[in-house]
Symmetry: C2
Subunit: 168 residues, 2 copies
Amino acid sequence: MSLYMFQAAVPVYTQFLTSLSNVLKKGAAHAEAKKIDPSVLIGGRIAPDMLPLSAQVQIATDHAKGSLARLAGVEAPKFEDTEKTFDELQARIQKTLDYVKTFKPAQIDGSEGKEIVLTFGTQKFPFNGQTYLIQFALPNFYFHTTTAYAILRHNGVEIGKRDFMGGV
Amino acid sequence: MSLYMFQAAVPVYTQFLTSLSNVLKKGAAHAEAKKIDPSVLIGGRIAPDMLPLSAQVQIATDHAKGSLARLAGVEAPKFEDTEKTFDELQARIQKTLDYVKTFKPAQIDGSEGKEIVLTFGTQKFPFNGQTYLIQFALPNFYFHTTTAYAILRHNGVEIGKRDFMGGV
């Protein structure tokens, strides 16, 4: 018995993109109930030089679709980073969930040793599939989903740890 | 070839406990440079009804040591949650890192199907080893390490994403 790459990625993205969607729904409902301009929450930040909620959602979805595409050796769909409303952010999450669900175990399993090289500026970061998923893509995904949660929580939205965790 | 449970857990805890330690060092240095009482940062919160920095560190370390112990079927050391200074938080992270490093692959690999039941109040949550690690322990670990980072970032500590990610 062993853990498979597909199992380490697809159920995680499904669980936490779904919970991110639910957290954002509570954010939208809070804005409506308290008569807060939704753009205040969507532009909310933990620090002035950190990215706003909209970007946290954009980057989290990018890590989910990008990592599966790289592991499978296919091209990920490009999403323009233009979302400015809760509805648009929900649509982006839904498109990502739909994309995540297209992957079959045979596309992802066995990618542990696959060479994956990321380029940031002029620097190259070589990974194998396993370290890329486990020590780069998933931590980044969690960083941005947690920060999205933190921005809404900081702004008074009544969400709790169970909302972050989703089903569990 | 397959991904092993040990590889999905131990290198992650090592990488992100080390980066958490470095992030806290920058927090301590910031407090000293700006003549801020360190307890202000250690008691910092993202929202008034969220846990402070000290608890984020305590819970992150608990998930690291607790998950490895459960998967291996051994008793995790208990740490009293009494840390009130940066030095005490560093000592807790170091004790956890030392404990993480005691595990051998043979203790963790093969635990995918192991029955693990968590109890919160009167509710029981049954997992197998794989879903417990991948969909419960690791997301919780990342939630608390990210929140610790966010609390310091929110309070003006000059840390960036690379500090969160550690080596990568």
